[in-house]
């Protein structure tokens, strides 16, 4: 069952990567990256169980944190673009 779940998550990860490649807008990509990150968290947790050493879930915690931070980062700095662009267009 664990392995089946792992495989399912891998498939979803591939789908997410495809969306990152296709785009078309920045936000689609951010969404896909975010989803990818969440799935990685699940994958790591599952992998720990599949390999028989589930003590290492700390890594999964870090992943979810990093995921959150990078989404905020993208938003923060893409906001910057919007701000600059609109500022320029007004000039």
């Amino acid at each position: 069952m664990l392995i089946a779940a792992t495989l399912a998550i891998l498939v979803v990860m591939i789908m997410a990567i495809m969306r990152v490649f296709i785009g078309p807008t920045l936000y689609d990509r951010v969404l896909a990256v975010n989803m990818f990150g969440t799935k990685t968290v699940l994958l790591i947790s599952l992998l720990g169980f599949v390999m028989g050493r589930p003590e290492f879930l700390d890594i999964a915690i870090v992943y979810s944190l990093i995921n959150f931070i990078s989404v905020i980062g993208v938003l923060r700095y893409s906001d910057h673009f919007i701000f600059k662009q609109s500022g320029q267009s007004k000039k």
């Binding site: 390999m51 028989g52 290492f56």
Partner: protein, 116 residues
């Protein structure tokens, strides 16, 4: 015959992708991305060397008697830090170049330099 080596070959392909981006692309940021990919692939190469079939993570526990090799992992921990240090410095340089030249394209910078 060489089936036991496929892992390394995949890593080598990744490395070369990164390497190609570094030397062929003209955009400074993209060069840095390529460098990062190149380095990360080398890390993967090292870590693949450390793996032992049937081994487990090198953190001692009861009931486990085969561990993967800890030494390459230590080396790569150091190398990752080196990598991020290089990336940070390279990005800082790219930002300064943008401010000084108004562009981060290799050929445009080259052009401006030749004019001076």
């Amino acid at each position: 015959m060489f089936i036991g080596l496929y892992n390394y070959w995949v890593v080598i392909v990744l490395m070369m992708v990164g390497f190609y981006i570094v030397i062929a692309h003209g955009n400074l940021i993209k060069k840095i991305v390529g460098l990062s990919i190149f380095q990360t692939s080398v890390f993967i190469f090292y870590i693949s060397m450390a793996k032992v079939d049937g081994g487990s993570a090198p953190i001692l526990a009861d009931e486990i008697n085969q561990y993967s090799n800890p030494l390459p992992q230590v080396l790569i921990l150091t190398a990752i830090v080196v990598g991020i240090a290089t990336t940070a410095l390279a990005l800082a340089l790219a930002v300064r170049i943008k401010e000084a030249y108004g562009s981060i394209e290799e050929d445009e910078i080259q052009k401006q330099d030749n004019l001076d």
